[in-house]
């Protein structure tokens, strides 16, 4: 599209780049803002249904579709309070720090082949890193509020997030290791085909690793039973006790944004991303979306987007289900869970997956016969490339050989797509 603007309309390339960047940014903003509106509505509905209630039923029709919007307007109209003793600058800026972290990590999150804000080849790393920055918003909010309850919340958050980043990172590394790349788009495309190709079913260790990942993700985005930072029965509202109105809603958006983000990340890493349980696009179009172009590509990608969104939303829903079912852990139990259970388990899973790969044991994709539509062979090729014997014990090679090998390691269609993704 940008090529079209430059060539046909004769627009200044930089302007086009800026326009495209703004378009992407606002699309992502739309995802996170619209997402939180939907998720907050969903949270209420889910909570309502779990608790034998109806949830919102009035605003915007039978299902209360517009309830969140109405609440948003109410929040906008609320007075923006600031405690007298608060550190004004930090108090004002903290919600935006939290929100920006949540928002920033969406930049590298692909929604379908090529549909990504910025195609970074260390996307996994980037997403986890930027998401980890959300803790600063919480800490600053807790500290700047000049309230003891907020401070307690901030201290808990800091301790908790630092701790859980370790097992979370270990679990994230497992699919990265299986795929041999940190590029989320590639990781997802490597799981194309039947659902047995998903890294969840790659081997027993990866299967367990997903649940450890999910637990740690719950903890790192502060959802029950790990919502210690805002434990309302102990700390009133924790770090956002003193917030109201728009700033408070920014914390909320950040929370729901991160919930969606970790769910989406989990579904890309373990649940096959935008690949459905059956290779539907391959049957219809004869090829995986990454190998298509033009209208078929868009259709296949839209299908993939739907699948991806449903997986992520399903994960979010399970988070809600958990929240409305379980009591809250105590802070020492949360930290114990991390260091005594999650970290050792994820370390064992990590080692287990390494050995599974090294020993060349059969993996999930061997369970079902590979369908013969071309794409299935790709992951195998990449696995060879990334983890073949010659790779583990490489000899000195000339530059040409090496780059040639890198080229062949990546499926050709992916090259094509990543090129198109930019245009």
């Amino acid at each position: 599209m940008s090529q079209f603007l430059i060539n046909q309309l004769g627009l200044y390339p930089l302007l086009v780049q800026a326009l495209m960047a703004m378009l992407t940014a606002s699309l992502i903003l739309g995802v996170i803002a619209g997402g939180s509106v939907v998720f907050i509505w969903m949270e209420r509905k889910v909570a309502g249904r779990i608790q034998d209630r109806l949830g919102p039923t009035r605003v915007g029709g039978k299902f209360g579709w517009l309830q969140t919007l109405a609440d948003g307007i109410k929040l906008l109209a609320k007075e923006d309070l600031r405690p007298e003793g608060a550190d004004a600058l930090l108090f004002r800026i903290a919600p935006y720090v939290a929100f920006c972290a949540s928002y920033g990590s969406f930049i590298a999150l692909p929604f379908a082949t090529g549909w990504v804000g910025l195609d970074i080849n260390v996307a996994v790393f980037f997403v986890v890193a930027v998401l980890g920055l959300e803790v600063f918003g919480v800490i600053l909010a807790g500290y700047a509020s000049a309230s003891k309850w907020s401070l307690f919340g901030a201290m808990r958050e800091a301790a908790q997030v630092i701790s859980y980043e370790v097992p979370l990172g270990l679990c994230v590394v497992i699919p990265v290791m299986i795929a041999g790349t940190m590029d989320l788009t590639k990781i997802a495309n490597l799981q194309a085909g039947w659902f047995t190709n998903w890294y969840l079913f790659h081997d027993p260790f990866a299967f367990i690793a997903f649940f450890v990942y999910y637990t740690c993700a719950l903890a790192s985005v502060n959802r029950a039973p790990f919502d210690l930072a805002e434990a309302e029965s102990e700390l009133v509202a924790g770090f956002h006790t003193e917030y109201s109105g728009l700033r408070w809603s920014f914390f909320f958006m950040a929370e729901y944004g991160s919930m969606f983000l970790v769910s989406a990340l989990g579904s890309i890493l373990f649940l096959g991303g935008w690949n459905g349980p059956i290779p539907l696009a391959e049957w219809v179009f004869g090829q995986h979306a990454s190998g298509l172009s033009g209208f078929a590509f868009v259709v296949a990608n839209l299908l993939g987007l739907t699948v991806f969104m449903s997986k992520a939303v399903l994960c979010v829903t399970v988070m809600m289900w958990i929240r409305w079912t379980f009591p809250r852990l105590r802070i020492d139990q949360v930290i114990t869970t991390c260091w005594k259970y999650c970290t050792p388990i994820s370390a064992v899973m990590f080692v287990g997956v390494i050995n599974w790969q090294l020993l060349g044991l059969p993996n999930g994709s061997d369970l079902l016969p590979h369908h013969q539509l071309g794409v299935r062979q790709l992951p195998g090729a990449v696995r060879e490339g990334a983890f073949g014997k010659n790779q583990l014990m490489p000899q000195a090679q000339s530059r040409d050989e090496k780059s040639a090998r890198h080229k062949e390691a990546l499926p050709a269609p992916l090259h094509a797509v990543s090129d198109r993704g930019e245009s």
């Binding site: 029950a224 434990a231 009133v236 009591p327 852990l329 802070i331």
Partner: protein, 404 residues
């Protein structure tokens, strides 16, 4: 974050990892988990609470002073507002106490009616206690499940007396009205559908491993401590003290339960009565901890269901009056008496002193929660902040009764 000057007069030396500052934190009177307007002042060092000082009186209305200006029947609505979650039991306690002073025996039918109502009230009250405890530990849904069932009891009460919270139904001489026709069938239908729901509560809370982690071995209260602090009800029995006024109380009160078959819910030799039908006690739980207090309450719900069923049979079989209330300004004999009854939250005592006029000289309400709460500072010493809602919630207090 105010630092507290160290008191050098009364010191002991202990070892510390990282020296942090102590701070005084106000928990309440506006705090989600202090069950109303209780205010706890915590002295904390990080997450560890070294001292808890309860401050009461935010709901103090001096009901006892009001009672010196009203006849006993007129004071009944004021008893409603003590333990507003178990108003029927408050009514009953005061009515029985006044009847004891007047030496007034209620008819047989009224006796069984009172058992039905009192035990239904016990169910309703424990449901709130259970739900609110779940809320204290961060589990929201059981609260609404509990309220769903409680609503049904309130519907029944509303049908009987027209009120849903402050009933003034049981009164001196019996009750203000007989149960309406068809009420017993509805009540039985409710009990039938309610029994399986109890198992749901057990599944959601009692046996939930996070729940057990949060309250097993927390706030352990030995039996002698419970007795010394005058604890009562589930708090006392949760510590393994075999005392239930329905069985052990004064004759004037136990007569009401004469002929009823029930066992006091207390652990004996590692077992609760009929514990094969209940979820087992987890190995982490220690007698006298929060979990046991909660468990006793849950078993009492089940027990109350049995008692209501027995009472319904007896009530249907009994003939005669439901117990007309005495005259509003009935003259009281001179003298004084004290009677404790087993209300859902513990032993609710009333003391009445009369000079022979219709208006008592002095009335006094001995609140069970008042005594139960007094143990907080002892139980919460050197716990974590998160344990405070767990401990206070397990005492199941109602501030209306504490502050009177």
């Amino acid at each position: 974050m105010s630092t507290i000057p160290e008191n050098t007069a009364n010191t002991e030396v202990i070892e510390f990892d990282v020296r942090t500052d102590e701070m005084l934190v106000n928990m309440g009177p506006q705090h989600p988990s202090t069950h109303g307007v209780l205010r706890l002042v915590l002295r904390t060092d990080g997450e560890v609470v070294s001292e808890v000082t309860p401050h009461l009186g935010y709901l103090h209305r001096c009901a006892e002073k009001i009672g010196e200006n009203l006849t006993p029947r007129q004071w009944i609505p004021y008893t409603d507002r003590m333990d507003y979650l178990a108003a029927m039991s408050m009514n009953l306690g005061w009515a029985l106490c006044t009847e004891k002073l007047m030496n007034l025996q209620v008819p047989e039918k009224a006796r069984h009616l009172r058992v039905i109502i009192a035990e239904m009230q016990r169910i309703a009250s424990h449901l709130v206690g259970m739900g609110a405890y779940g809320l204290d530990l961060g589990s929201f849904s059981p609260f609404l499940y509990a309220f769903r069932e409680r609503e049904k009891i309130l519907d029944l009460f509303e049908e009987a007396c027209g009120a849903r919270l402050t009933y003034s139904y049981l009164t001196v001489g019996g009750a203000t009205a007989d149960l309406p026709p068809g009420w017993l069938q509805k009540c039985e239908a409710f009990l039938d559908q309610f029994l399986p729901v109890i198992d749901e509560y057990h599944a959601l809370l009692t046996t939930n491993s996070i729940f057990i982690k949060r309250c097993a071995n927390i706030g352990v209260m030995p039996a002698d401590m419970a007795i010394s602090y005058g604890c009562s009800g589930a708090v006392l029995r949760g510590s393994g003290v075999d005392l239930d006024l329905r069985r052990d109380g004064e004759e004037w009160y136990t007569n009401m339960y004469d002929g009823y078959a029930f066992e006091v819910i207390v652990e004996k030799e590692g077992h609760y009565p009929n514990d094969h039908v209940y979820p087992p006690v987890p190995p982490e739980a220690v007698l006298g901890d929060c979990w046991h207090r909660f468990y006793v309450r849950m078993l009492e719900v089940r027990q109350a269901v049995d008692l209501v069923r027995q009472a319904i049979d007896r009530y249907s079989a009994a003939s005669g009056s439901y117990g007309e209330p005495v005259k509003l300004a009935e003259k009281l004999p001179a003298g004084e008496t004290y009677l404790e009854t087993e209300a859902p939250r513990g032993q609710m005592g009333f003391y009445i002193v009369s000079d022979g006029s219709p208006i008592p000289w002095r009335v006094r309400a001995r609140s069970s929660c008042f005594c139960n709460l007094s143990v907080t500072s002892e139980l919460c010493r050197n716990t974590l902040i998160a344990d405070i809602p767990a401990v206070v919630g397990s005492l199941d207090i109602v501030m209306g009764e504490i502050d009177r």
